[in-house]
Symmetry: C2
Subunit: 263 residues, 2 copies
């Protein structure tokens, strides 16, 4: 019998138990049997409902369940959305494990590897630092052609660009998710890259840095793809890992629409 | 002679000196004479250059100069964009004062008042809580009609919507800027509103809360306008205040293009 604990052990094993981490069991029991696993980017209400209907025993989610990084619930006590979501989870008995810090701590970063695969950019990544990509010297790329590539490979309708969209790109950085302005700006300041591709920014940080750089005449540009699409395909790494270790368990990736639409 | 100190005193006076604040003099001297003031949303490199060319003595900016809320510079030391911006500021001798915490602490919030004026929504605001708006009972509004109004009044090309765009709206919240997921969600959870309009969110917080609420069948929607356009017009409050107090000083609002474009 495969249990929640056995799956968690497998997910944690490449890193070892972290002392401080948001990756905890949000619901369910460690000794519960697991026949079906759903891997998701975000445990939305709709995704949990769908998982329950499909008979999923364990959801592995990259992002939080309760609208804050630490999944703190006290401040939400009595909030109707929070209470209804919590009731669905508790009544179903489904297990939810967040896999954020561990998968990013795999060597190399599991999300980054999954994204490079999805983008067919694996061979461009530097072996010392896989976030650093060098495009083939016989190919001509600009920010605009890379936007088109990201759209087609990740299914994104439009994205945000700072700097000149027609800037030629030879070397670039890929930082999925929202790793923060300091991390983006330090990378831009220390690496010889033309373009940084990120998931999400705070507008007054990375966006303004790249705007200023471009206004100074520096060959720098930024693409902001949106957080979900910048990491979602990366969770495929987890699907493959679990299928390999536990062939008797059904493991499926559950895609999810974006929370927002552009009008 | 009007000095930087006299202008700062006027800006601080409605609140009194705050002990902890990001609103500090970022450059220049308190005893310098001021004949020309530029009010901006963000002290971009281009805006500072333009101000210097126009002979501006003091820039009043709502947002930081150095890509982080505290305007900390140590971590940026040696960064070419930071050093070039700092050199422009120091060589010009221009004074830069950040006006963020004070203007938001005016009673009522100076940015909010300016935005309500720009949107022609002043009469809809509750007198107890000006962020709470009730639309006229003889008018029919949906999220979509309000998006159209925001676009035309604020010059926004497109914005993000969570929930049903055709949801009828009677009562709504207006929270310019990026006040954070907890503040947005607490407002949504405690007020009887159909729609919340905000400047900027973290995607995994407010957006996901409203997505879940809508998927639960609750009549809730969210509009995310973008940070700059949600607050920029609010700085007009400061322009008017200074013109009234210092008629001998030239005070102008300097608009700024967005840092990013959508492709």
């Amino acid at each position: 019998m495969i249990t929640v604990q056995m799956i968690l052990d497998r997910l944690i094993e490449p890193v070892g138990q972290l002392e401080k981490t948001v990756d905890t069991l949000k619901s369910g029991r460690l000794d519960a049997e697991v026949r079906k696993v759903a891997v998701v980017f975000m445990t939305t209400y709709a995704a949990i409902k769908q998982a329950v209907e499909l008979g999923v025993d364990l959801i592995i989610t990259h992002e939080p369940t309760y609208y804050n990084h630490m999944d703190e619930g006290e401040w939400l006590s009595g909030n109707p959305v929070y209470e209804k979501k919590r009731a669905l989870i508790e009544e179903s008995g489904i297990a939810i494990f967040r896999l954020h810090d561990y998968v990013h701590s795999y060597k190399p970063d599991g999300i980054l590897v999954g994204m490079l695969k999805q983008l067919e950019w694996e061979s461009y990544a530097s072996s010392e630092n896989m976030r650093l990509l060098t495009l083939p010297s016989d190919e001509v790329h600009t920010v605009r052609t890379l936007v088109a590539h990201l759209k087609s490979k990740l299914g994104i309708e439009s994205m945000l660009v700072a700097g000149n969209p027609d800037l030629p790109v030879k070397r670039m950085g890929l930082m999925p998710g929202a790793s923060g302005g300091r991390s983006h700006i330090k990378f831009l300041g220390s690496q010889d890259i033309d373009l940084l591709i990120v998931g999400e920014t705070s507008e007054w940080e990375t966006n303004e840095y790249v705007r200023d750089a471009a206004d100074m005449g520096l060959a720098k540009a930024l693409i902001v793809t949106g957080h979900q699409k910048s990491e979602e395909a990366g969770m495929q790494t987890v699907v493959e890992m679990l299928r390999e270790t536990f062939p008797e368990v059904q493991v499926a990736f559950m895609e999810c629409p974006l929370a927002v639409q552009r009008i």
